[in-house]
Symmetry: D2
């Protein structure tokens, strides 16, 4: 019989909050609005560890993930994994049968590719977004979720525009929106992305024909914004639209400086 | 006269918590225990922005940094900048004269190189550590600090050792300790580093002659530890030694897996 | 009519080798051995630019990618995109109809997830690998390809083992194998991965039950290897098995040091 | 007596090109034009390994670095380490007495902070640059060097400007210049930086008062450039000024796209 060192009493009897595995790359499928999507996400899964146990059984966490992700569950995918957070919850539910714990967290980090229509030529442009979804089972058994999106846009400086007869410096900016809410709250990542993307001086596109590029350029000059303006607009729209706690962070890769500027706020 | 767009009333009247500059690489000097040390840190500096102002004056934040860092203040360096957090506080004090605000934060991220003595040949080995210091001026004018160290060590798995007649898997591990405390609390980064470095299966060294390597190898086998054990030891020692809120995170780059394992806790 | 600045004669008449777009995240599908696989790769696509033209038409490069990747080509995917390099070649073939050029390159970077069987419990473990495929059309119209794999494994130091009665330091190591060959050369990424993974002290697994962990631990002690040994084995096996130019790089995240060790060679 | 496993004959008798240590963070001092500068560089040092030796003695490489960097050599620093490449050469010269080899390489990666004068207010602005210096001793005993600089600037698109009555998209761009030359060739990193920085639409500054910002904004509109134009200008100026082989790479973080554009060439 193998020794189960994990079950021993540790020298230092101190409970730990988050113990588990991180930076695990795997494959995941979800069935969103009737269509199957495949991802290769980066996963973290942790549980709490009571003071009197030396360690957790790491392999059971891996099993919970690979079983929920695996091909054996094709049917389950079609019915249950209708979003990244439903998938995360299924991982925790499998874990409940494998490893005792009071708290558990699953974090899933991937990219979404969303088709958009360009502003003038009306062509389809596939836009990439970074998303991360956390599912947290609290001590009392309640489920929370944390949804994060990261969107690339731009800022056209209103201060320089006012001082240079309409000329100004423009640059790429990155907007991040995080919402922490009860699991049952209906929040779509796509809608969060739309809010961030719509708060820049102008949205960006992967494909731009000359007439589209002209439309984007004119859009940026019509809508000059500080990084502060972008952060405020994301925050105000998200608070109006969603329940939960909101965190906004916007970073602008200044074209006139070697450093970045930042605006951040939270509720 | 230039237009000051920053002073206008914004469309969305929402106060912002942290507005400023980030990812600024510059040069800094401190005089620690009578000796001058030079760094090339990465700096972030932010202030709050009230609801009725459109933006902050970014260049004044840069001035506060470059003046405090600059060569004109050689004398000040010798007398006042006796630690990274004293330097951060000086930046905020300069900023007070340049830009109205209620809250301010300065974050300074750099490396420390500390000489150690190897365990058998007693040679000097220069060990690198990542450190980050945050100085926060709160709304009430009180000052807090956040000190972070990141130390590279190792874990030798006690579970595999118990099941394989003393053989086990060993790997690099990274321990992070963060302390948030009132500014006046006496906390030395070097002591925080010592606590983390001393909590692994064995410390690591840049220079190891064969006799030293043997001592490190034997040390690891005498002291097998889960990532959970390392986290508990750092946490318990830091709580005993320092005031303030403590956060510990240990990540082990498993040699038998492609993913990492993690143990985290906080007070 | 829009101005086509790209067609103007530049001030400095100097031909450029590689002009295009990089860091483009998109979706790609291939039909490998009868099954459809979806990826979210990072793409780079470049062409040469003659001395007398000021710029290239970037949007045509994007179109070549998105059309080849897009859903309109489902049928083509099933028949033609039977590997990442076939997909890359299709992108270049589309580009030939859109933008004159003599040289072209497409680089596709993604992850592969491959099911493995664990050494003792015979469970399925899904293992992640980083891969990159480059397809290069040379000036003479010939096609080359560059295939890269990056595999996580481990090293158990034979020198420490010889000096410490069978005890030694063990650590995670990363092996990289690159092959540059004519496009027609039959080289499977999976086979390249197998060669690298089989050259470490022991393969690593995402899922390891205790009996599997024991097998991996014993395997590492039976097969101690310097980073130099791993590099030589990968190089020798790859040269025996594949045509083309071979480049090998192995990095070991030493558990006794804070730095890494490296062994590299090429043909 | 310890076993010297490195001296054994390996199973696979294959010479290796580059074996050594990498990602070593340490402290370095140079005396440049009469002033002492301190760095915390990242270092790589490798030698070749003949077919009949199993491994190299890694600790001797570390000793060569730490001795050359250390405080015991203050006098040597003042006289001999007058540049990063002289420092690299000293490391190899120390290594010659410690470890037999035919080829050796030392790579030193750090930041330079250079004071500049802003364009209108004539204030001092400290600008950061990434630099890397490689020193290579070839099989025939000759010394070569590789110098790399990485500079942050900007591009203002001439195509959009021509199609939008002088309005255009502007963005941060990164220019990289590498020169490989005989060791004796006189090439200053500062001059390489000046060439790259002077090839963008306008230089960037860390500190910009409103009048300076206006000057930078107007400068960008007066000097619209494709990423291709920037690459050509760097290449032409570097070829005119320096001997050796030249490699140029410019990447523009497009403000209208989520991806980057790239222009690259070499001699």
């Amino acid at each position: 019989m193998p020794v189960e060192t994990q079950e021993e009493v540790p020298e230092i009897k101190e409970p730990l909050r988050r113990v588990g595995i991180t930076n695990l790359r795997t494959v995941a499928k979800i069935n969103w609005k009737g269509r199957e999507y495949t991802f290769l996400p980066l996963i973290e899964i942790t549980i709490d560890l009571p003071a009197e146990k030396k360690g957790i059984h790491m392999s059971r966490l891996v099993e919970s993930i690979t079983e929920a992700m695996g091909e054996a569950v094709e049917e389950e995918v079609l019915k249950v994994h209708t979003s990244l957070e439903e998938l995360g919850k299924c991982v925790i539910e499998r874990l409940e049968k494998k490893h005792p714990h009071r708290r558990a967290e699953v974090w899933i980090k991937t990219h979404l590719i969303i088709p958009r229509v360009t502003p003038a030529s009306r062509k389809t442009s596939y836009e990439p977004y970074d998303v991360e979804v956390g599912v947290i089972k609290n001590d009392d058994g309640s489920f929370e979720k944390v949804l994060r999106v990261r969107v690339i846009g731009n800022t056209a400086c209103p201060h320089a525009m006012a001082n240079n007869n309409g000329k100004t410096h423009i640059q790429r900016a990155i907007g991040e929106l995080e919402i922490r809410a009860p699991f049952s709250e209906e929040i779509e990542l796509e809608e969060m992305i739309d809010i961030v993307e719509g708060s820049f001086s102008n949205p960006t596109y992967t494909l731009l024909k000359t007439e589209d590029e002209n439309a984007v350029v004119r859009g940026m000059y019509k809508n000059p914004k500080f990084v502060e303006d972008v952060a405020r607009e994301i925050f105000a729209k998200a608070r109006e639209r969603f329940g939960g706690r909101i965190h906004v962070r916007v970073i602008s890769n200044e074209s006139i400086h070697k450093h970045d500027v930042i605006a951040e706020t939270w509720s």
